[in-house]
Amino acid sequence: MPPIADSILILLLLTNFFILGTANLHSAIRGVALQGLLLGVLPFFVESQATVRLVLLVIATAAIKGVVIPGLLMKALRDVHIRHEVEPYLGFVPTLFLCAAGTALALLFADHLPLAAADRTGLFVPASLATLFSGFLGLTTRRKAISQVTGYLVLENGIYVFGLLLYQSMIVEVGVLLDLLVGIFVMGIVLNHIQREFSSLDTERLSRLRE
């Protein structure tokens, strides 16, 4: 496990903080795009010999996670004329604290999971769990539908990180990509409808069904 991978993972964690910390939807989406690119290049440093599959995977991941989906979100943001503040339920500082705590917990929890010799030095498991957690934070503390989508993306990235540990079994990234594609694709459609019906993406409007 080359150290570069680890440093990329560190960067990944930092982007988590950035995405949760920024007050602006644009920069949040940019953060997601950055994460996508990081994940895109990550396989190079996991696998030593470059195969066609590797290249394809890198290109696909980088393109989808780093370009296509953020682009879609940007477009959605442009179409809907809403203020670009994130408007969280929970303030930024507490969110960041929670994120830090989550990361720490992830490190702790990862310790009791046995690893293969090859991966033992890596940060993969904790990074994956931490990213998952910050994805959850994004989903639960943000008001706008779009920022929830970004939260979901972060969560997916976390899963993807772990997926790389199972590079051998093709099935993994297929799963991830499929999930992302359909998930975000459908969400895009629904966002579109929401925009049409409610002329807003504020989920406050989306809490009429209740006891």
Binding site: H112, P114, A116, L155, G175, D179, V182, I194, L206, R208
Partner: protein, 476 residues
């Protein structure tokens, strides 16, 4: 031959999508459903194991789920003919296509022996149902769809991570990261415990969200409340059953890996918690479709409780899966009729349904008595069996809680259901247009008849199928 179970619906979906006019589409759905049921019957009859491949083949569990889903879908499809005729003002292209796609994917779930395929199929059902939920295309249904989609996707993502954990555990224990059900079970002994436990937690939360176990059920009342009755039936009887199947597969692996005790603990907790939550929300529930949603939560709870009790509980849970699906069919379809006739699903507007639509309301009432475990209906047998299993395993506290919760749920559900069906209907001309045509009632009656059959005379082959499935899960 088994592969046609997937291909036929897909072709049907394509046809439905390409067909220009709305009228004949419901018929396509119905025809495909009937063919599918026939195929399923054939598969189950001659014990066809499916493809040669290790990835797609039928075991007893798969056959059981296939049977449930195919039957329920056939009933719903026939009902759809009447329903979509009633809702002729809406375009039904997407709806019908999604229905058939849903059928294909559920069959795939039943067939899958590889955890990733299983997962992909579940994901696909999520999407199909999301489309179905949005049939009414109003703000409320949109909100419901949005919530369903978000929560469902998060859940399914967690399930994926859990699957990956299992694969990694396999890589450590067995040497290669297989996700083949058979290999995992065979090599389960070597799987490292922490990975199995963590994976089980993720998969439980993931598929539990799809099942709608409390506190992961939050999408259910909204979705069931806003969806057409027929979609509710398919969700409550079909999709949840598939999710339960996925959970069972995972449980089997955990059990084989020596984590059975841990898994059963979690399942018992989830089961009782779901029943308790359902009870709390049923008491004083003013919306009879949301009521059914909570009833579904309750019965998912009973299912996992049965598994969590283990032993004879597994058989009981599987039996209850069948009964629950069929009874939910009755309840949701009848509720759909009442909803359509009164143009409302709140108690404020809906009373005296027995007077306005005797058949549907009567069926609704019968469904209520069935689902709360009165003979001569199927759930009576299965709910009693769950209790028996609990007592045999000396889980007296669990048994006591189970009984008390059943009592509370009966009270809560009954007060709402009776308020709907009894009394004098409000005097308004609106909704009088609704007619209880054959298509809108006969399928429900058939479904009820099946429920009665399950309570009075369970056919031998179903019993053998159930026993085989239970044995597969290490039950008796």
């Amino acid at each position: 031959m088994a592969v046609y179970l997937i291909i036929v619906p897909l072709i049907g979906a394509l046809a439905a999508f390409l067909l220009p006019s709305d009228r004949p589409r419901p018929w396509i759905v119905a025809i495909v459903a009937v063919i599918h049921l026939a195929l399923a019957a054939a598969v189950i009859a001659n014990g066809d194991v499916g493809l040669a491949s290790e990835w797609l083949r039928f075991d007893a569990l798969g056959r059981l789920v296939l049977l449930i889903v195919s039957t329920l879908f056939c009933i719903c499809a026939l009902y759809c003919i009447g329903y979509l005729r009633l809702r002729a003002e809406r375009p039904n292209r997407i709806f019908c296509t999604a229905l058939l796609f849903f059928l294909a994917m559920t069959s795939l779930v039943a067939l899958a022996q590889h955890l990733t395929i299983l997962w992909v199929a579940m994901e696909a059902t999520t999407l199909a149902t999301a489309v179905l939920l949005y049939f009414n295309q109003n703000q409320r249904s949109l909100e419901a769809t949005w919530k369903y989609l978000m929560i469902g996707s998060v859940g399914i993502a967690l399930a994926l991570l859990g699957t990956l954990f299992l694969a990694y555990g396999a890589r450590l224990g067995i040497g290669e990261p297989t996700l083949l059900f058979r290999d995992l079970v065979k090599g389960a002994a070597h799987l490292p415990a922490p990975w199995v436990r963590t994976a089980f937690v993720f998969l439980l939360v993931g598929y539990g969200t799809k099942m709608g176990l409390a506190p992961l059920h939050t999408w259910k009342p909204d979705a069931y409340g806003e969806a057409p009755g027929v979609v509710g039936a398919l969700l409550a009887g079909g999709m949840t059953t598939c999710a339960f199947l996925a959970l069972l597969r995972v449980y089997r692996i955990a059990d084989a890996a020596g984590q059975g005790g841990f898994a059963r603990q979690l399942l018992v907790v989830f089961g009782l918690l779901s029943m308790a939550t359902a009870a709390a929300f049923m008491v004083g529930q003013r919306d009879f479709k949301r009521l059914l949603a909570y009833s579904s939560v309750e019965h998912m709870g009973i299912l996992v409780l049965g598994i969590g009790i283990g032993g004879a509980g597994i058989f009981a849970a599987l039996l209850h899966t069948v009964n629950n699906a069929l009874t939910k069919g009755v309840l949701f379809l009848a509720a759909g009729n009442i909803h359509r006739a009164f143009k409302s699903k709140r108690l404020e507007d809906v009373t005296g349904a027995l007077r306005r639509l005797p058949i549907s309301a009567g069926l609704f009432l019968a469904g209520f008595f069935a689902i709360t475990g009165s003979p001569p209906f199927g759930p009576f047998v299965s709910e009693l069996s769950v209790l028996t299993a609990a007592m045999d395993r000396h889980r007296y506290v669990v048994a006591a809680l189970y009984l008390i919760l059943l009592a509370v749920i009966f009270i809560g559900m009954g007060s709402t259901v009776l308020a709907v069906v009894q009394g004098v209907p409000p005097e308004d001309a609106e909704g009088r247009s609704f007619r209880e045509s054959a298509f809108k009632t006969v399928p429900i009656i058939v479904s009820l008849a099946l429920v009665v059959m399950m309570g009075v005379w369970i056919p031998g082959w179903i019993l053998t199928l159930l026993h085989a499935a239970a044995r597969l899960l290490g039950g008796s």
